[in-house]
């Protein structure tokens, strides 16, 4: 596989973008930062699928496409199946000799939002992972159904207010904790699973490249800060993502072959989750006295999770 140099940003910037502008994503959206970086991680041809969601409705609205590579969208739930169907066709046609250029290198990639990954497309993703196709699934996790006005998903963290799990006089927002999708995917026996963030561009690029290079079904959860539904100024996307990774709300790590866990980013100064929550409108209500216990709960969960990840890294089991 032709991977591109990620030695430094200057080298990396010599790649020719294959994701075009004049898409309809919100100003400051992290989705396109992640997609651009993925597409710049390799010079191979790409066959990409997308579930219905922000990325899909913003990059292929007739008569325009923002994709310079092959791309397909079918429905909300089946990007993993669409791209693995194409991967099966690639294998069949390669065997039969009916490909136009049988030597052209190609990678198969599926994108889904958290709604289509954690919720409605969960079964399709699980099935594709179990079948062992050679593809990489990337979840653009912005922790809500942002495309339809910000409803709760099973990726929405406890305490966030969404349009269907609202904060009010009798509610502090979502009551349930976020689903641990990374562990679930690692439990599928996937050869490479990771959680990555676009502010740490180099670890994200290296993770993408590992996933693309690794034969078999790989899964990556990426934090995609959502200016519209997290409620912060569009210019602050990278700043808010920094707060997410430095508070360890989003730890950056990989799991190889289901057990070998490597932490890929250790903040020099771990910041309080209050700094992260306070930068976003969706958590504003938590700073009221009656809701402070939720912040304490979130901090405790983060601390426990970080301790658990470090133990797993050490134990290698």
């Amino acid at each position: 596989m032709a991977i591109t140099s990620v030695k430094n940003l200057k080298e990396f910037s010599t790649n020719n973008d294959r994701f075009e502008g004049a898409h309809l994503l919100c100003p400051g959206c992290a989705h396109s930062m992640i997609v651009r970086e993925l597409m710049n991680c390799t010079d191979d041809n790409l066959v990409i699928s997308s579930n219905t969601g922000c990325l899909e409705v913003s990059t292929a609205v007739y008569p325009y496409t923002s994709w310079d590579t092959s791309w397909i969208h079918i429905g909300f739930e089946n990007a993993a199946t669409a791209v693995t169907g194409a991967e099966a066709m690639y294998k069949a046609r390669k065997r039969k000799g009916t490909l136009k250029d049988p030597d052209a290198p190609v990678k198969f990639v599926a994108f889904g939002g958290d709604g289509s990954t954690y919720d409605i497309g969960f079964q399709w993703l699980s099935g594709a992972m179990e079948r062992g196709h050679d593809f990489t699934y990337i979840c653009l996790d912005n922790e809500n159904y942002a495309n339809t006005g910000g409803q709760r998903s099973s990726a929405t963290p406890i305490g966030a207010t969404t349009s269907t799990a609202q904060a009010g006089t009798h509610s502090y927002g979502k009551k349930e904790k976020k689903k641990d999708i990374v562990s679930i995917m690692a439990a599928h026996g996937s050869p490479y699973v990771a959680q990555l963030a676009p502010n740490k561009w180099k670890s994200m690029a290296k993770g993408f490249q590992k996933a693309l290079e690794t034969e078999g079904p790989c899964f990556i959860n990426t934090v995609s800060a959502c200016t519209t539904e997290w409620k912060f100024d569009p210019k602050d996307t990278i700043h808010v993502t920094d707060l997410a990774t430095d508070s360890l709300m989003f730890p950056i790590y990989e799991i190889i072959e289901g057990h070998e866990l490597n932490i890929l980013y250790r903040p020099k100064n771990i910041i309080s989750v209050e700094d992260y929550l306070g930068a976003q409108g969706r958590y504003k209500h938590l700073f009221k006295p009656q809701n402070r216990h939720v912040i304490e709960q979130i901090q405790k969960d983060i601390d426990d999770n970080w301790a658990r990840l470090q133990r797993r890294e050490e134990a290698r089991i």
Binding site: L9, S13, N16, G21, G28, T65, P234, K235
Partner: protein, 148 residues
Amino acid sequence: MSLQGNDNRGIRELGAEKKVGWDEVTQGVALNSFVGESENSAFLKAEERNYNDFNSYTATVASWRIIKPVYNRDICIDCQNCWIWCPDTSIISRDKQMLGIDYDHCKGCGVCVEVCPTNPKSLLMFSEAKDNNEALAGWPVKEKKVKN
């Protein structure tokens, strides 16, 4: 800038394309990114590609913008932070050098300014109406670090 040579970047407002009849829409809603056959675009700079009208590269979202980034070449260190984090593929960078802003595709989010590490910044946001030369003429000077 030679990038403007024979390029069809941003020539149409979204929605301004010709609305053809049922007999002329593409079969199965398929959209080709380029005209005819093309080399893998990973090996072609934007200005070397034969973009199809269906490619959003040929459309513009400039009208979304109320503020715009202005780029000051004199201060830039070509770190490429603005390039990696631009959500709209609107930082024109060639051979490790930052060349400027693609105003046809920039939506004015301001991420590039926030991630610019120079002092003073090499990118600053101005009103869309502000003349770029005027903005450059009044560029702020280096800020002294304040010790706490």
